[in-house]
């Protein structure tokens, strides 16, 4: 197994200014540049004509996400789709950059913890805004003696959100590293006689690993993005007392995190 993998796992991701953090900043930069490009492109467009090409794709994505947000959280949360789109773009891009060999930002616990903290703060700020002083009632919910239990369970969403992403990315990364290492050894055993060491371990991996990348990076990434965004929406719309839970998904998902 490579040095990189060992360092990644044994440090549990705590390593300031490691490749993951730099890659995370690059991903954010890409998203910001992309957003500005979209903004300037859309300013020039004629609103009376139907969009085509790139603009149409962007518009349909934004439309889909907005309707999904409305379906999950109700009509007054329509503006929330901006945050959801940002999250989704960051998580998907973070999974995708590890395909082309960069260190995946989500294999660093600090990164996943940061985006989970955003959601966590949003949950509690929304609760404070909507419930005013009633917000503190949750800590003594059935009876005041349960205060320590409630204080502990307050952190459950943060932990589950961050560890879910981190575990997925790290598990995929570790398994891929093991497969690459194993295939390298196998390739070395077969082709080692013909070519000098170091170059002989790259012949089998390209034929087997793309399928695994497809699962661990693309499929898993898309599913985890969807789940993260959806759980964020559910957690936040739960804090809204006037919101009647008409959606069936809400009833099923309650209590699961």
């Amino acid at each position: 197994m490579s040095e990189e993998t060992i360092r990644n796992i044994t440090h549990f991701g705590w390593d300031m200014f490691s490749g993951e953090v730099i890659m995370s900043l690059i991903v954010m930069g890409i998203i910001i540049i992309f957003s500005f490009a979209v903004y300037f492109k859309f300013r020039k467009l004629d609103p009376t004509k139907p969009d085509k090409g790139f603009a149409m794709v962007v518009e349909s994505v934004v439309d889909k996400l907005e309707s999904f947000t409305v379906e999950m959280m109700g009509n007054k949360w329509r503006h929330f789709s901006g945050y959801a789109l940002g999250l989704a773009m960051y998580i998907i891009l973070s999974f995708l950059v590890s395909i082309i060999g960069f260190p995946g930002p989500l294999t660093y616990l600090g990164n996943t913890l940061s985006i989970a903290l955003c959601t966590f703060f949003l949950i509690h700020i929304t609760a404070m805004k909507k419930n005013k002083l009633g917000y503190f009632k949750r800590y003594i919910d059935p009876i005041p003696i349960l205060l320590p239990v409630n204080l502990l369970s307050m952190w459950a969403p943060l932990l589950s959100l961050s560890l879910r992403l981190f575990g997925n990315a790290l598990a995929g990364y570790t398994l891929m590293s093991i497969v690459y290492y194993f295939l390298g050894v196998a390739s070395d055993a077969i082709f080692g006689g013909f070519i000098s060491t170091g170059a002989s371990n790259i012949f089998i991996a390209p034929f087997i690993t793309p399928v695994l990348h497809l699962y661990f990076d693309i499929f898993s990434g898309l599913i985890q993005t969807f789940i993260f965004v959806m759980l964020t929406m559910i957690f936040i719309s739960q804090e809204d007392p006037e919101e009647e839970d008409s959606s069936e998904v809400l009833k099923i998902q309650k209590g699961k995190a």
Partner: protein, 73 residues
């Protein structure tokens, strides 16, 4: 003491089997629902994949623990 690490990792991975049972139940029920009500197919499929992914979380935690058992310390 070295062997205990591997035993611990194996016990952690056992959780994956349990979540496998859960995932099987999810799929079974979803397919039952699809068979009874074919026009709900796409909605049920979306919920099924979502439920599977949520269920898989526990086994991912287990995998994380197993990896940490094996490589840390």
């Amino acid at each position: 003491m070295e062997a205990l690490k591997f035993i611990g990792a194996a016990i952690a991975v056992f959780t994956g089997g349990c979540s496998g049972i859960g995932e099987g139940l999810i799929c079974a029920k979803a397919i039952e629902g699809m068979a009874r009500n074919p026009e709900m197919y796409s909605k049920l499929r979306a919920s099924m994949i979502l439920g599977c992914a949520l269920d898989e979380t526990t086994s991912i935690y287990a995998l994380l623990i197993a990896i940490l058992c094996l490589f840390v310390g």
